[in-house]
C-alpha cells in the first residue's frame, strides 16, 4: 500500500511538471524587430517603389516586395512614403539640441563649433541624434566665434598649428573649421598664411578642413588654399566663372545655410514656410517665434538673399556638391525644423525636390560619415522618415511626418503642452520673502546657473531681512553664461491678463538679465537687460518685450547676471501686474 502511494506520488508529480513545462509561455521568435509594409520608398533615382522594409538590430536588413517573416512590430505604411532621416550639415549644438532635432526627423548634426563640455556630456537616457563636430573652431582674438563668451582656444602669432590641430583631434573633433573674414569691419580674422597652414595641418592629420567665409574674395582665397568645403554661401556678389571652375577642380563642397542668410538679410523669403507652421501641432509657439526672429536689428550689409540663392543655383548646376545646413540655433532658426526650411529654400533657388533631399542625406553622409550612408540600403542604420505625402511631389512634405524610426526604434513624438493645462493668473505677488521662498501650489524660487549646461558659473540664494539675497559668480564656460535666481510656477501659467513683471532690486553695479521661460521646456529663454546699481530701484518690465514669449504658457522668470564677475544683489516685492 505504501509502495503504491510512492508510485502514485512520483507519477503524478512528474506528469504535472511535464505538462507545466510544456504549457509555460515561451518567448516569441522573431525574424525582424520592425516590418514596414507597403510603403512607397523614395529611391536614389527619385522614383517611388512600393516595397517592405525589415529592420533588425537597428539596421535595415531587407528591402523587398512582400517580405515574409514575423516581426515584433509591424507598421502598415500603405499610402505612406519612406525616405532616410535627414542630416543637418551646419549646426551649433547645445542643451537638448540633439533630442529636439530628432523629433523633426534629423538623425545627425554636423556641428560647426560647440563646447568640449557639450561634446563630453553626450551620455543621456533620451534618444538623441548623432553629433559629428568640429568642436573648437580656429579663429583669432576678437574674431568671429569669440563673441559668445565661451572659452575659445584662439590662434595667436606663436601658436604651434600642428599641436593646435592635434589637440582638437584628441578632443574628438571630426574635422577642423576655421573662420576666414579678412575684410570684416566687425571681427578680427586669421591671415591667409595661417589659414593655409591650418588647412595643410588638418589634412595631413587626416581631418577635413572647412571654412566660414562671407565674401566671394575670401571664398576664392580659401578654395585656392585647398579648403575642402565652405560652410556658408557668400551673398555679397554673384559667383564668377573663375570661382566655379576652381571649386570644381578642387572638389569643394558648399553648405549654403540659406536660412541664416535670409535671417541676416531680413528677407521675407521664409515667411511662406513659417506661416504654414502655425497650425502644426508638433511646432511650439516658441519655436515659431525663433524662426520669425532675425539676426541683428536691421539688414546686415553684405548679405543679399537673392545673391545667395542665385549663387547656390549656379554652383549646383555646375556640379558643386550642395549640402543642406541650417546654422541653428541662430536667430531665424530652430533645431531640426530649420533643416526643412533650408530644403524649401534650396528647392526655391532651383534644386529639384530629389536634389534637395540628397542635399540633406547622401551629399552630407558621403563627406561627413561615409561609413554610415543616409540611404535606404541593406545594412544601413535604420534611420527612416515615414511621411504622409510624397517629398518628391513637394519638398514641404518632409514635415508631414507620420513616424520617425531612429536606429531601428520608433521615436515618441509627444504633443506640446496643451492649452487647457495653463491656468490663468491674475495680478499676484510672486514673493515678498517675508515667509520664505515658496508659495505652495503656485511657485518656488531657486538658484540657477549654467552648471546645468556644463558651464562654470555658480549661484546661491538666501533670505535676509525679508529680501531675497543672491550671490552670483559668472565664469566663462557655457556659450551663454549665467548665474542668479529663478522662480518657476508649478505648471505653465496663462499670464495674458497681465502686462508687467515688477520687482525692486539693488546690488553690484552692472547690466543684469531678466529671463522669461515659456512654451516647451526645451525653448531658450527670452531675455531683457536691466541696469542695476547699489541704490534700490523698481524694475518694471513689459512682458510683451520678451522676444518670442508665449504669455499663455509661462513657466517662470529668472533675474541673473550674464557677464563674468562676482555679484551680490537682493530682490524684493516681485509681482505681476496689469497696467495700462
Amino acid at each position: 500500500m505504501l509502495n503504491s502511494v510512492f508510485n502514485k506520488a512520483i507519477l503524478s508529480i512528474s506528469l504535472v511538471v511535464l505538462v507545466m513545462l510544456i504549457v509555460l509561455p515561451k518567448p516569441n521568435k522573431f525574424d525582424f524587430d520592425l516590418l514596414i509594409k507597403g510603403a512607397r520608398i523614395i529611391s536614389h533615382q527619385g522614383v517611388e517603389v512600393e516595397a517592405d522594409i525589415a529592420v533588425l538590430d537597428g539596421q535595415i536588413s531587407l528591402v523587398s516586395k512582400d517580405i515574409e517573416g514575423d516581426a515584433k512590430q509591424t507598421h502598415d505604411a500603405h499610402g505612406q512614403f519612406v525616405m532616410p532621416m535627414l542630416m543637418d550639415a551646419h549646426t551649433h549644438s547645445f542643451g537638448d539640441a540633439l533630442s529636439n532635432t530628432l523629433l523633426f526627423g534629423v538623425s545627425t548634426h554636423v556641428d560647426m563649433f560647440t563646447s568640449t563640455a557639450f561634446m563630453n556630456s553626450l551620455e543621456r537616457a533620451k534618444p538623441q541624434a548623432r553629433l559629428i563636430t568640429a568642436g573648437m573652431l580656429a579663429t583669432v582674438q576678437r574674431g568671429h566665434g569669440t563673441q559668445f563668451g565661451s572659452h575659445v582656444d584662439t590662434i595667436e602669432q606663436d601658436t604651434d598649428i600642428r599641436n593646435w590641430v592635434a589637440k582638437r583631434k584628441q578632443e574628438g573633433s571630426a574635422f577642423i573649421k576655421l573662420v576666414y573674414m579678412p575684410n570684416s569691419r566687425v571681427f578680427a580674422s586669421l591671415d591667409l598664411n595661417t589659414a593655409k597652414l591650418i588647412i595643410k595641418e588638418s589634412q595631413e592629420q587626416g581631418l577635413l578642413a572647412v571654412a566660414h567665409v562671407s565674401t566671394q574674395q575670401a571664398a576664392l582665397e580659401m578654395v585656392s588654399a585647398g579648403i575642402d568645403g565652405l560652410v556658408h554661401q557668400f551673398a555679397d556678389t554673384e559667383v564668377t566663372d573663375e570661382f566655379i571652375a576652381l571649386a570644381l577642380q578642387n572638389e569643394v563642397f558648399v553648405i549654403p545655410t540659406l536660412s541664416v542668410i535670409a535671417s541676416a538679410a531680413h528677407s521675407d523669403v521664409t515667411k511662406g514656410f513659417t506661416d504654414k507652421l502655425s497650425d502644426n501641432p508638433s511646432v511650439s509657439s516658441a519655436q515659431l517665434a525663433q524662426l520669425k526672429s532675425r539676426l541683428g536689428t536691421t539688414k546686415i550689409p553684405g548679405f543679399d538673399y537673392e545673391t545667395a540663392a542665385l549663387n547656390t543655383k549656379k554652383m549646383h548646376i555646375a556640379g558643386i556638391p550642395i549640402l543642406a545646413g541650417s546654422d541653428a540655433p541662430n536667430p531665424g532658426t530652430a533645431y531640426g525644423l530649420s533643416l526643412h526650411q533650408e530644403l524649401n529654400l534650396l528647392a526655391q533657388s532651383g534644386l529639384s525636390t530629389l536634389e534637395a533631399i540628397k542635399a540633406a542625406t547622401t551629399n552630407v553622409s558621403k563627406i561627413f560619415s561615409p561609413e554610415s550612408p543616409a540611404e535606404l540600403s541593406i545594412g544601413s542604420e535604420a534611420n527612416l522618415l515615414i511621411l504622409n505625402a510624397s517629398p518628391l511631389e513637394s519638398i514641404e512634405n518632409t514635415l508631414n511626418i507620420q513616424q520617425i524610426i531612429y536606429q531601428g526604434e520608433l521615436i515618441d513624438r509627444e504633443e506640446p503642452i496643451s492649452e487647457s493645462s495653463s491656468p490663468k493668473l491674475h495680478a499676484t505677488f510672486l514673493s515678498s520673502f517675508s515667509t520664505g521662498f515658496d508659495i505652495d501650489g503656485l511657485l518656488a524660487w531657486a538658484a540657477t546657473d549654467d552648471s546645468i549646461r556644463n558651464g562654470n558659473s555658480k549661484a546661491s540664494i538666501s533670505i535676509s531681512q525679508e529680501r531675497l539675497k543672491v550671490n552670483a559668480e559668472v565664469n566663462n564656460g557655457f556659450i551663454f553664461p549665467w548665474a542668479g535666481a529663478a522662480v518657476f510656477f508649478d505648471k505653465p501659467r496663462d499670464l495674458t491678463d497681465l502686462s508687467h513683471l515688477q520687482f525692486t532690486i539693488e546690488g553690484t553695479n552692472g547690466t543684469y538679465t531678466v529671463m522669461a521661460f515659456s512654451g516647451a521646456e526645451t525653448n531658450l529663454p527670452a531675455t531683457i537687460p536691466i541696469d542695476v546699481t547699489q541704490t534700490e530701484t523698481v524694475a518694471s518690465i513689459n512682458m510683451k518685450a520678451f522676444e518670442g514669449i508665449d504669455l499663455s504658457k509661462v513657466r517662470g522668470f529668472a533675474i541673473v547676471v550674464s557677464e563674468p564677475g562676482k555679484f551680490t544683489y537682493s530682490i524684493d516685492d516681485v509681482k505681476l501686474v496689469k497696467s495700462n
Binding site: 505504501l2 509502495n3 512520483i10 511538471v17 510544456i22
Partner: protein
C-alpha cells in the same frame, strides 16, 4: 528497494495526514512571490528575476523544516532508535526522507511557475524553464543537510527555533526576497557566505543571460557547501543518540 519505496510512501502519507504542515509549506512561497515578485514590482524583468530567487526560497521550506523538526521529533520519541533496530539498511531512513522532501519541493515549485508564466508574463525557452526547475529542485539538497544536522543535534523546540532563524536568515541575506545590490556594503559581503546567494545567482543566470560573469565560482561554492553540509549532517547523525 521495496523497503525504501515503502519508507517514502510512509513519509508522504504522514505529511498528507498533517496538512497543517504541508499546505503552508507548499503555498506560502507562491503567495509571497505573487505579492512581492509580481504585484508590488511591476514592469521590467522583475517577475523573471524574482522567479529565480523565490524558486530557491520555495524549496528551502520543505528541506529545512521537514528535516529539522521532523527528525528532532522522531528522535525524541525514540522512533529513530527503533529504526536502527529494524532490518532495513541504515541509510534508508535518511534517503527516504530526502526523496520525500524532493517530492514536496517539486510540488511547491509548481504553483510558483504557473504564477510566473501566466500572471507575471515570464517567457522563457523550454530549455530555460526545465533547467531552472532542475536547479531549483537540486538546491534542496544542501538545505536538507542543514535541516538534518539540526534534527540530529537539537530537541524539537530548539530545532523549531533554529530552523526559523536559519530559514529566514538565509532567505533574506542571500537576496531571495530583495536583490542583494540594494543592501549596504557589509550585508553584500555577508551574502557571499550564504548558499542561497550562490543558488540565486545560478538561477538568475538562466533567466537572464547577461548575468553570468561568476557562474563557475557560484557553482563551485554551491557544490563545496553541499558537501560540507552533508559532512556536518553525517557527523550529527553519528553523534545522535
Amino acid at each position: 528497494m521495496i523497503a525504501l519505496r515503502n519508507e517514502v510512501g510512509a513519509e508522504i502519507l504522514k505529511s498528507i495526514r498533517a496538512p497543517e504542515f504541508v499546505i503552508p509549506t507548499l503555498l506560502m512561497p507562491s503567495a509571497f512571490y505573487f505579492l512581492f515578485g509580481i504585484t508590488l514590482s511591476r514592469g521590467g524583468n522583475n517577475a523573471a528575476y524574482f522567479l529565480a530567487t523565490y524558486g530557491v526560497f520555495a524549496v528551502m521550506g520543505p528541506a529545512i523544516f521537514g528535516f529539522g523538526i521532523g527528525v528532532a521529533n522522531e528522535r525524541e520519541r525514540g522512533w529513530l532508535e527503533l529504526k536502527r533496530l529494524l532490518p532495513a539498511p541504515p541509510y534508508s531512513y535518511v534517503l527516504a526522507k530526502l526523496l520525500a522532501t524532493l517530492l514536496f519541493a517539486a510540488a511547491a515549485l509548481i504553483p510558483l511557475y504557473f504564477l510566473a508564466g501566466f500572471v507575471g508574463n515570464v517567457r522563457l525557452p523550454l530549455s530555460a524553464w526545465s533547467g531552472l526547475y532542475l536547479l531549483h529542485l537540486l538546491s534542496c539538497i544542501p538545505f536538507a543537510c542543514i535541516g538534518l544536522s539540526l534534527g540530529f543535534r537539537f530537541n524539537s523546540s530548539g530545532a523549531i527555533a533554529l530552523s526559523n532563524v536559519i530559514y529566514l536568515g538565509l532567505a533574506v541575506l542571500g537576496g531571495l526576497w530583495m536583490p542583494v545590490f540594494v543592501f549596504p556594503d557589509w550585508m553584500q559581503t555577508v551574502a557571499l557566505a550564504t548558499p542561497t546567494y550562490h543558488f540565486a545567482e545560478l538561477a538568475l543566470s538562466i533567466v537572464d543571460k547577461s548575468n553570468s560573469e561568476s557562474l563557475l565560482t557560484n557553482l563551485s561554492i554551491v557544490i563545496a557547501m553541499s558537501f560540507a553540509f552533508a559532512g556536518l549532517a553525517t557527523l550529527s547523525w553519528l553523534k545522535a543518540k
